[in-house]
């Protein structure tokens, strides 16, 4: 009789106050893959970081190189990526890192947008996110961001697709269990853009989300769609405090 009570007491004592603790995707990798991820001589995603660094310094046909405004990015942009998605002050729209880079490219550099999932945008995003490696995720979920955050949370909790599953059912309720050959993670998304073995390449978080949608046989939304942007904000808010891991490796 007293043992269950004691266990409940223990559970209450150990449970974090308020928000539930989640772990990043890295903690669901095999030790071998984790070693590969942490070794720049083995993790192919660093090629995308290198390419992004080159592009950042390259002068486009018009306007300045990114480096022209953002001097010493290793310092000046450290911690920038972990504050995205964020609401753009001028337009009131939610922008993720990809969106902000494209905005700079079009409005400041007067160049045609690279396009979501182009090699250039992926490289720049991966490079900028890599500058926040180890920095705690710290998006704003209040103020002007609150409505977007709530929309993302609703998306996360809504049952979808032919399998009639919500993100939450698996990524909160069944974490650590097996789904076919894989282990269900929290879906923290803190390593993206990431090199996924499935893709043989680096891909964005939205590419991963599209694969999730397909997995439950639900509608896939476009890259940069309001649905995925809001979900990205919710995931980032839920992962608050976890370190940025880009460029990560995932299965």
């Amino acid at each position: 009789m007293r043992l269950p009570l004691l266990l409940i007491g223990l559970f209450v004592a150990l449970a974090p106050a308020g928000a539930e603790e989640i772990a990043s995707g890295s903690s669901f990798l095999s030790p071998e893959m984790r070693r590969q991820q942490d070794d720049p001589n083995r993790n192919p995603a660093w090629f995308w970081v290198d390419q992004g660094k080159e592009l950042f310094a390259q002068k486009p046909a018009t306007g300045q190189a990114c480096l022209g405004c953002h001097a010493d990015p290793a310092t000046s942009l450290r911690g920038a990526a972990v504050r995205y998605p964020q609401v753009d002050g001028a337009s009131g729209k939610l922008l993720n890192l990809e969106g902000r880079i494209e905005q700079c490219r079009v409005e400041r550099q007067q160049q045609p947008a690279f396009g979501y999932e182009s090699a250039e945008l992926l490289s720049l995003t991966t490079y900028l996110a890599s500058l926040s490696r180890g920095q705690p995720m710290s998006v704003r979920t209040d103020g002007p961001a609150q409505a977007y955050y709530e929309a993302g949370k609703a998306f996360y909790e809504r049952r979808q697709g032919q399998l009639n599953l919500s993100c939450k059912q698996c990524h909160d309720g069944l974490v650590g269990q097996k789904l076919r050959g894989d282990t269900i993670s929290y879906g923290a998304g803190t390593g993206y853009p990431a090199y996924r073995l499935e893709w043989n390449s680096v891909g964005s978080l939205h590419r991963r989300l599209r694969a999730c949608s397909l997995g439950v046989r639900a509608s896939q939304f476009d890259y940069g769609s309001p649905e995925y942007l809001a979900l990205e904000l919710y995931l980032a808010g839920r992962a608050k405090g976890l370190p940025g891991e880009t460029p990560a490796m995932r299965r």
């Binding site: 095999s30 071998e32 893959m33 590969q36 999932e117 789904l179 076919r180 050959g181 894989d182 269900i184 996924r196 073995l197 499935e198 893709w199 043989n200 390449s201 590419r207 599209r210 694969a211 999730c212 949608s213 397909l214 997995g215 509608s219 896939q220 939304f221 476009d222 299965r251």
Partner: protein, 160 residues
């Protein structure tokens, strides 16, 4: 609303029945492509690279995970017992995947300048199968090591 960003990921490596039939109708298919090694056993595939000689077992280690998370990139490491001198060294190591559409994966050439016969690479495995490493020694001997590998799938098949 959706578009594939990686059309290359949409089909498996093995030519489909439809491809093979279509190509055969066009008279384009080599016999080896039409029946991608299904009739050949691992033993046959090994003997093809040793000129029919049955290789000895042992004298090398083939390190490959027994359970692979994704067949797209599989770590393999081969170490051969050899002094790696002018008189006695490993000439090459040949890697075979019994059930890959193209079973010959790689051949690695070494010399006395290698110092030691220890190599590693990353392989692509189409399915669960046995992998073989065949070693050709400078004195004409052959050796082989095999390892069974189970390839699991990722949970959500990527199409987006």
């Amino acid at each position: 609303m959706s578009f594939p960003i990686s059309p290359r990921s949409k089909r498996s490596e093995a030519p489909s029945r439809r491809d093979v039939v279509a190509l055969a109708a066009a008279g384009l298919v080599l016999p080896t492509l039409a029946g991608p090694a299904r009739a050949e056993t691992l033993d046959d595939l090994v003997r093809r690279v040793t000129d029919g000689v049955a290789p000895a077992a042992g004298g090398l280690t083939l390190e490959i995970p027994a359970l692979v998370e994704n067949g797209n990139s599989v770590d393999v490491r081969i170490a051969v017992d050899s002094p790696m001198t002018e008189a006695a060294h490993v000439r090459w190591i040949h890697l075979i995947a019994e059930k890959n559409p193209f079973p010959d994966m790689a051949r690695i050439h070494l010399s006395p300048r290698s110092g030691r016969a220890l190599v590693a690479t990353t392989l692509r495995l189409a399915q669960s199968q046995t992998v073989a490493a065949v070693v050709a020694h400078s004195d004409g001997r052959y050796a082989v090591a095999t390892a069974p590998v189970v390839v699991t799938l990722s949970a959500c098949i990527d199409g987006g």
